[in-house]
Amino acid sequence: MMEILEGSHAVAEAVRLCRPQVVSAYPITPQTHIVEALASMVADCRLDAEYICVESEFSALSSCLGASAAGSRVYSATTSQGLALMFEVCFNVAGMRQPIVMTIANRALGAPLNIWNDQQDSISLRDAGWMQCYAEDNQEATDLHFITYRVAEDHNVLLPAMVCFDGYTLTHTYEPVDLPTQEEIDAFLPPFKPYNTLDAKKPMSLGMYATPDYYMEFRYEIDEAMKRAKQAFAHAGREFAGQFGRDYSGLVEGYRLEDADTAFVAMGSLCGTVKDAIDEMRADGMKVGLLKIRTFRPFPSAEIRKALSGVSRVAVLDKNVSLGQKGAVALEVKDAVYGSGIDVFDYIIALGGRDVRKSDIRTIAGLAEKGIGDQYYGLRMEVL
């Protein structure tokens, strides 16, 4: 049913439809509306879950780990500093192969303290063994929860997943969202079947320590599972499209790329602005297109190489920066197209919530055409 919902509330409704048995979360802006909404659902018996009001994000994810290991489907949400506090647990959850789904309301990391959007928080966890999807709008943010639970809990994958959507830009924005019914989601997402679980009738030890004789193989197995997740995403996306008509089977998604000379690459809500700018530039005869990256982990290198095969140059819009290097997305896109002769230019953009307009996208297209890139875009030189 189509409803006008705030992004956070749309996500909370999606989570409810996924029937998590344990929800554990800690308030942090701009994620808070999600967990508030879930708490209300539990209070009103709309969601039959144990809701743990933890004392920190560190405990939020730690308790999710315990609940998942004991056989429950679990959920948490966080952002920025909260995700940073979870850093140690994030690696642990992936290492212990617990299929936890967590929403990230993307926000900048301090210092200086900043509650607005960029993607530094989740990008900084790219090596943790979590799958990461980035939503362009609230419909996609909603739907990605159904899909990521399916993929995460697939016994060929068994990895945790972050569904990332931009803080404020999406979390606090009202958009029409088509919410599936409970029956429809029950048909798409079966109850959680744990692979290994804590059970007194079948004792086993989870989270043992591994010497150099075993450790590398554990890490390799996670990496292999991440690669298998690509097929699982495509498969779940196709099935979702068949049932609901919205297609997320592509790990990347092209927009007007067919005859493009310059391709933008972006993730998240920025893609909407870029698409509008492209439409205007196309009307002016400029051959520009967009490649949206939906899953940053697993990273779709082959898909990117294929999608960008016809372009001359790529302008990557990075809402993050690996300080002392470039933006993380640009580095990985460069790796994906290495040897193709395509120029990849990086633009660090919109850090800490700085607004990006269609005119900025047009300006960046001009810079890329002139071969000017690998720079911050939109710096206020007068305050430096």
Binding site: V22, E50, A70, S205
Partner: protein, 300 residues
């Protein structure tokens, strides 16, 4: 003692000879029985009992990190509750994980009132990393980060009173115990897991390697701690002390201190009368607080 046909904490683990914590693990599982899920912290016990692919645990066991056992247990408990399952959820963690780095998670779990039993095997320092002091290290103990030296008499602070902190959280059952009194340990564990939680048990578990004594002396050292009043075995119910083990003719603390290398500096090169008196005062205060002294005149 509750006997089980087979041990739930199996032999063949890799603890040092005379390891107090290994004995604690064995006694704990005698008390909990097999319908139990153990949540462990990183530390000696985790390392010596679960080198992949071997495990000494005959009950389901999970280890995540050093400092999050209470939070992991919160999740396990919530999950079981949702599924209508009745296993006991029992944390078994060292004193570093409990007194220091895990305090946040413990405080949260106790305040939320999860039905868990949190057990600290207290060997009074970070033994797994090489005998560094923790908040549970006693006054004047020589550790690698509180070394005795020309201008140091060892650990500068007395042991943190963690049972009191958790009593202030409203824990319904709190007990201290010592591996030197095995029946008492088992009884207290049985009581804890059968009392709706959160409950806390702190078990004195001498460490031959860290404290500096022969592995064969573990039980004797444990008994001396109790007989000198430096460790008091007691039970608290709803914040009130219900029972404390009485000590007949309490021994001077010297008898406990002089048999451990960690207190050797108090006796060499000469006896440090002042410092030993301070430690005696700690024991005296504790004995008075819990009313454990029973004085019997020796027959002439």
């Amino acid at each position: 003692m509750a006997e089980h046909e087979c041990e739930l904490f199996e032999c063949g683990h890799r603890a040092c000879g005379g390891c107090g914590p290994a004995l604690a693990a064995r006694l704990i599982l005698k008390g909990t029985g097999e319908n139990t899920i153990v949540v462990a912290s990183t530390g000696c016990m985790e390392v010596f009992s679960t080198p992949y692919p071997e495990t000494a645990w005959g009950v389901p066991w999970i280890h995540s990190l050093f400092e999050n056992a209470a939070a992991v247990a919160s999740g396990v408990e919530a999950s079981l509750k949702k599924q209508g399952r009745d296993e006991h959820v029992v944390c078994i963690c060292g004193d570093g994980a409990t007194f220091d780095i895990g305090m946040l998670c413990i405080s949260g779990a106790f305040e939320r009132g999860h039905d868990i039993t949190y057990i600290c095997y207290d060997n009074e320092a970070y033994m797994n990393t090489g005998i560094q002091r923790s908040g549970a290290t006693p006054y004047d103990a020589d550790t690698t980060t509180s070394p005795a030296g020309k201008c140091s008499t060892g650990n500068k602070r007395p042991k943190k009173d963690l049972p009191a902190i958790l009593a202030a959280h409203g824990a319904s059952y709190i007990a201290t115990a010592s591996i030197a009194y095995p029946n008492d340990v088992v009884k207290k564990i049985e009581r804890a897991v059968n009392t709706p939680g959160p409950n806390y048990i702190q078990i004195h578990a001498p460490c031959a390697t860290g404290w500096g004594f022969e592995g064969a002396e573990t039980m004797a050292i444990g008994r001396l701690a109790v007989e000198t009043g430096l460790w008091v075995n007691y039970e608290m119910v709803n914040g009130e002390v219900e029972k404390a083990k009485k000590i007949v003719n309490r021994k001077p603390v010297e008898e406990y201190l002089m048999v451990q290398k960690r207190f050797r500096h108090l006796f060499r090169p000469e006896r440090n009368v002042e410092e030993i008196a301070k430690i005696q005062a700690i024991a005296d205060r504790s004995a008075a607080k819990f009313g454990i002294d029973v004085v019997l005149k020796k027959p002439e």
